[in-house]
Symmetry: C2
């Protein structure tokens, strides 16, 4: 389906295209079959979270589909919670991929977009079995978009600039070259099919088209991180370096 | 869609229905929009896992869709892993539900089926942020079926007998009345929309039709639990008490 869409886009006649408002767009991938979120993928963020930097494979959780929304959205913040945000790189998987070598992984990525990984930390970290997925899946806690940018549009897809601003103030700023696990390395650790997947050389994910993989990232500074409550977060689009 | 299907089933003419082999059936819900798995939902299992019984809300993780298969299946067991199984009650959500009171929750359940929650415990519990979802989502790690039984078929949907046998030997046997969180109570804690959801009286999940909720359960005895490796697990169907 993605290949067909690319073929159509190559030669599409946009001479009578209409203007639109980005605020009217929903999530560019509103119904992914699966959403894989890669946790603690920044050395600085892992330290801030009091977790060790993962050395073998990253924690992989989900953001449930009902959390998805478009990039211009109003998110209801639970009162009494401890709500946090993270600007993220979101990779949309375009083709079914199993046991693909990391070096061959990028062509399976349909494109990249920006996302916010909004989290309610009290649910996330309470109890003896911390549950990343639930606290990160309140309605609207996964705004993404506004568009999916194909990988060829980036000068270096492994070094993408990401920024997050709140009310015009940049509160996160970093580059994906600082990922602990870059997109191809993270992909091959998802749903491993290899018996020794920690050192596997294969891209062993079984990702149907439409899967969204969100790789959380954290910038170097984040003043007033909890001041998000009740306001609107705006995520910049992923932009080429 | 579920209501339409029920209407069709009410009056369907099965006079020329063909015989079939259960082994030819796939998962009865092969492409759910979301899969919510409720962890540590048996007092005995929580103790066995060295986790405290959850008192406020249960750990909620996912089994990624690519793990689903039909009930008669061959599952590749990763070598070097520590593979475990759990017979489960699987509730299929048939209608979009938001902020429904627990007492009103059952009608949102399209039906129930049996499932195996196969887990690779080394991935699941390693690292400082245990990740239930990934170790439980190898391909084929979520066999379900063979059929979804509507709730009205059960004498008491809150007291269902579940058994798991390996090579004819019953290795798990229990009843859902022993759930820490029964289906209606667990449902209202999924994707909470209530600010004080721990004591919320609402069914606050936002579950689109097709969602599957798997409530892990554990029987009282389980000899040779790791002898599953390389063999085939057979889950009994959920049966009425």
């Amino acid at each position: 389906v993605w290949d067909e869409f690319l073929g159509w886009a190559e030669t599409a006649d946009d001479s009578d295209a209409a203007e639109f408002d980005v605020a009217d767009l929903g999530a560019p991938t509103p119904a992914p079959a699966q959403v894989f979120a890669i946790g603690l993928n920044y050395t600085a963020h892992a330290a801030e979270s009091n977790f060790a930097v993962p050395d073998t494979f990253p924690p992989t959780f989900t953001k449930f589909r009902t959390a998805l929304s478009g990039p211009v959205t109003t998110v209801a913040i639970p009162t009494g919670g401890n709500v946090d945000w993270e600007i993220e790189l979101v990779a949309v998987i375009g083709r079914r991929a199993e046991k693909v070598a990391a070096a061959d992984a990028w062509p399976y990525v349909a494109g990249l977009t920006a996302g916010q990984d909004i989290s309610e930390r009290i649910i996330q970290l309470s109890g003896q079995a911390p549950q990343f997925s639930l606290g990160k899946s309140y309605p609207g806690f996964a705004p993404i978009g506004p568009w999916v940018v194909t990988v060829d549009e980036f000068t270096d897809p492994d070094d993408i600039d990401l920024q997050c601003a709140v009310d015009g103030e940049t509160v996160q700023h970093g580059r994906t070259k600082d990922f602990v696990f870059g997109v191809p390395r993270a992909d091959r650790r998802i749903v491993p099919g290899s018996p020794r997947y920690c050192r596997a050389t294969s891209f062993s994910a079984a990702l149907p088209p439409g899967s969204v993989k969100a790789a959380p990232r954290k910038g170097s500074s984040r003043p007033g991180r909890n001041s998000l409550a009740g306001s609107r977060a705006s995520a910049s689009s992923a932009s080429s370096s």
